[in-house]
């Protein structure tokens, strides 16, 4: 078929697009339906968190971290306060550590539920799995409201512990939720995991080998889906993660389906962690005696936690004042976008959406 002149077509996917999960833009060049080039463009949600942090004191920054990955505020808070504690040498009471782990794991479940739901929405399942996921997440958010009066922007943790102890009605609600969650996941899995349409769409799509994943600094479920058994909760246990038993699920080949499955398995592991925490937790103080305005000695610290999206780290430099000299965020969503271009090349329009969806980025964290 010579003589037919074709030319590639460039499409702006976003910033306003139903499947970019925020104000994200992809400049994609298609040859027919096939992607020959893709360039992510972002920054539409840039608020200068790092610059703002330089003019806030150490407690006020907690409110900034809420707004980074707004689907996982608890994990952001945890990563931040851990860095400050490392910087200022603050000892955290045990009960506070347990409460932190419980809430961070709940947040992980909530975040993974959203990732799964939206992945299925991107696959074209008219919101049904998404609504089922939302239904489950709603109960977790209700628990957060009991804990700290807010549902999304939590600001619950403080350097030296947590803000206040959980109310009495929190524990029975948590118990009943923990009892229900495995059934939720079973239902979700029987709707999705063995669905042949999902399999046809996701299997062997958007492959990312373990070498590629490590080379491009992927982290979190995306890294583990490629078969790399690496989880900061086990590799470098923080808080009380060394006292609980859990498994680190990994994927087989690193395709979209594995990235989905790893999230589901991780949620099940999170439930196990919370169960063990509930057994181990004892009463006690929940906040170390920290001053109102923390003035760490001049120095620097890097601490990271295994957030729902990946390794969320803070690198903070103090000059001895009430505000950090420099506060750098190692945002997992941002760095996870590094291999996106290679992953997309050669796939089709429909695959683009689900590959991007399976990486699970939150634009608040990408742009900060």
């Amino acid at each position: 078929m010579t003589g037919i002149r074709t030319e590639p077509i460039t499409i702006n996917l976003g910033p306003q697009h139903p499947s970019t999960h925020g104000v994200f833009r992809l400049r994609v060049t298609f040859d027919g339906e096939e992607i020959i080039d893709a360039e992510p463009v972002f920054g539409y949600l840039h608020r200068g968190t790092e610059k703002l942090a330089e003019s806030r004191n150490y407690v006020q920054i907690v409110t900034l971290t809420d707004r980074m990955d707004y689907l996982a505020s608890m994990s952001n808070n945890l990563a931040y306060v851990r860095t400050v504690e490392k910087l200022a040498d603050i000892e955290v009471p045990e009960r506070a550590q347990y409460i932190r782990v419980i809430s961070a794991e709940l947040q992980r479940i909530a975040s993974h539920l959203m990732a799964t739901g939206f992945l299925l929405n991107d696959l074209g399942a008219l919101a049904t799995p998404l609504v089922y996921c939302f239904r489950e997440r709603e109960r977790i958010l209700d628990l957060f409201e009991m804990l700290c009066g807010a549902r999304i922007t939590l600001s619950y943790m403080r350097p030296g512990g947590v803000l206040q102890d959980a109310p009495e009605d929190f524990w029975p609600s948590l118990d009943s939720l923990i009892g229900d969650l495995p059934h939720y996941f079973d239902e979700l899995e029987s709707l999705i995991t063995s669905n042949e349409i999902v399999l046809a769409r996701t299997k062997n799509v958007g492959l990312l080998t373990d070498e590629q994943a490590i080379d491009s600094s992927m982290s979190g479920p995306n890294l583990r889906a490629s078969g790399v058994k690496w989880d900061l909760r086990k590799a470098d246990p923080y808080e009380i993660y060394d006292r609980v038993k859990f498994d680190v699920p990994i994927g087989a080949i690193g395709d979209t389906y594995d990235r989905y499955l790893v999230r589901i398995l991780e949620m099940r592991e999170s439930v196990k962690i919370i169960e063990q925490c509930l057994e181990q937790i004892e009463s006690g103080p929940i906040r170390a005696d920290t001053p109102f305005f923390i003035r760490p000695a001049a120095g620097e610290a890097y601490a990271a936690v295994e957030g729902p999206k990946g390794e969320l780290g803070f690198y903070m430099v103090s000059d001895g004042g009430v505000a950090p000299y420099r506060c750098k965020v190692r945002a997992p969503s941002f760095i996870n976008l590094t291999p996106l271009r290679d992953m997309l090349k050669g796939w089709k329009m429909g695959d683009l959406i689900i590959i991007f969806g399976s990486i699970d980025v939150v634009l608040g964290e990408v742009d900060r």
């Binding site: 610059k51 600094s217 750098k328 941002f334």
Partner: protein
Amino acid sequence: MTKIISGSELASSLEEKLPGCITASNEVDVWVSPESLLDVCETLKDPEGLDFSYLTSISAVDYIDNFELVYHVLSMRNNYSGVIKCRCSSEGNLRGEPTVSSVTGIWKGADLQEREIWDLMGIKFEGHPNLKRILLWEGFDGHPLRKDYLG
């Protein structure tokens, strides 16, 4: 537990392979010269040697009289981590745009992070395939994370 390789340990093993690359070191930190940064990173990544296969993060700090790049690297196979620092400043003009060689060729994960640092801190990375502004728009005046930037 991830073992943290101390600065002096790192310095000695680097000095062995690349003499003269270390500008300063103490118990915690090790500073390398910007000229030898690329060689140092290659040595760090070498699977036979230190095997830092994973670049956790690159941070840039503005210390008024110079800029400091902090590379957090991790060896997943041996579960230890290290920190390399690199002080750089542009010659002549203190607040100019210092140039450092890019490590994108060694760790692909540095790609977006180096772009971010160029965007917000104004450090040029030589050899980066696509060094454009990333969070702010092209044509933005200045680099906001610098201490002398008045927003």
